[in-house]
Symmetry: C2
Subunit: 197 residues, 2 copies
DNA sequence: GTCTATAGAGTGATAGAC
DNA sequence: GTCTATCACTCTATAGAC
């Protein structure tokens, strides 16, 4: 284990423990044991336990935003852009399930300043989908009443769905992403506005 | 505060703290402070912190199962039974949001024996919906490929949806439940089997 | 049924040697 | 960059008075 990689090793051990046991139930000693070093050595790489959690949350959000942005950047047709966005959201959540689970459950462990930074990133992420919905509605391709509610619906349905589909383990990631693509687009184009009157 | 109610007081203070801060981040001292007693007095009412968490999880699951069962017991038509089940699921999750949040996030805090008991109850609950799906499919009213996947989809979509709908706070509980009823029934009766081939 | 006092263990974090 | 040793603190839980 080369010195340059220890920071990464600690992070991935922490991701595993935080996702399995939770942030508060995981001790620095356990992370050290899993990384093959003494607990004092953790503090050479990270300022504190909270700092380690924040780094995990921050890089996960940054990677998610970059991943979804990249997937739609060269596409102009709004339906295709939404399909790509949904597909990459589902892919990311299935491929990096542990980090995403932590991102959705351990926000209470960070300082108010760090919390605000993560919430800002989450808002930025949601805006990608809200812009797509607005774009599609203005072009007359999508039918929707409330852009915020629809964006929350899309994201939570995809996130939750990604979890239980994977749990069943019968379908490939591509297959799952495709099912959601069709499901969301059907909903957005269907003759019932959402939410209904 | 009468003696007979202290056990309940402690429980509801714990529900509030566990849902806001998480189980491991909440200390017995905080629960005592919120209940207006000293921390040692908690142990007269509950054996341990874990015992308190388990009581919360157990009563929530028992109440949920009884509530949904009661809502369908006098109805024979399978579509109406499913509508009633979805409606009561959404109602329960919105009316007792804190307890349900704990039930979905703090299962890692209990002992293996207690964990098994809760999981058994959750399986029992899911079976209510799986039986309804099977019943409807056999009667030719619903179209479905995989009963387990469909039941997970219904329950997670309703649970997640209940959370963000309430967060928006623009719609009444009845309105939300109705929207989900229609949404689920449309999905179950629609011409596309789920999951698609 | 609630109190004060404390045991006993573990925690996050730091100091300083190597 | 990692170590040993330890500080200062908090935690869950118990003992025993009232």
């Amino acid at each position: 284990m080369a010195p340059q990689n220890m920071k990464q090793t600690i992070k991935s051990v922490a991701i595993d423990l935080f996702s399995r046991k939770g942030y508060f139930a995981t001790s620095i000693s356990e992370i050290a044991r899993g990384s093959g070093i003494q607990k004092a050595s953790i503090y050479y790489h990270y300022e504190s336990k909270e700092d380690l959690l924040f780094h995990i949350l921050k890089t996960t959000m940054d990677d998610l935003i970059a991943y979804v942005r990249r997937s739609i950047q060269d596409v102009t047709d709004v339906e295709t852009r939404m399909r790509r966005a949904v597909r990459s959201h589902v892919h990311f959540h299935l491929e990096r399930q542990k980090e995403n689970f932590i991102s959705n459950s351990e926000l209470r462990g960070i300082t108010p300043e760090h919390y605000q930074m993560i919430v800002d990133k989450r808002d930025e992420y949601e805006r990608i989908f809200q812009d797509l919905i607005r774009e599609g509605a203005e072009a007359g391709v999508f039918l929707t009443k409330d852009i915020k509610i629809v964006s929350y619906a899309i994201l939570t349905i995809c996130t939750a769905g990604a979890a239980w589909y994977n749990y069943q383990g019968r379908l490939s990631i591509d297959r799952i992403a495709m099912i959601y693509e069709d499901f969301i687009i059907d909903g957005l184009k269907g003759k019932h506005p959402f939410p209904p009157e």
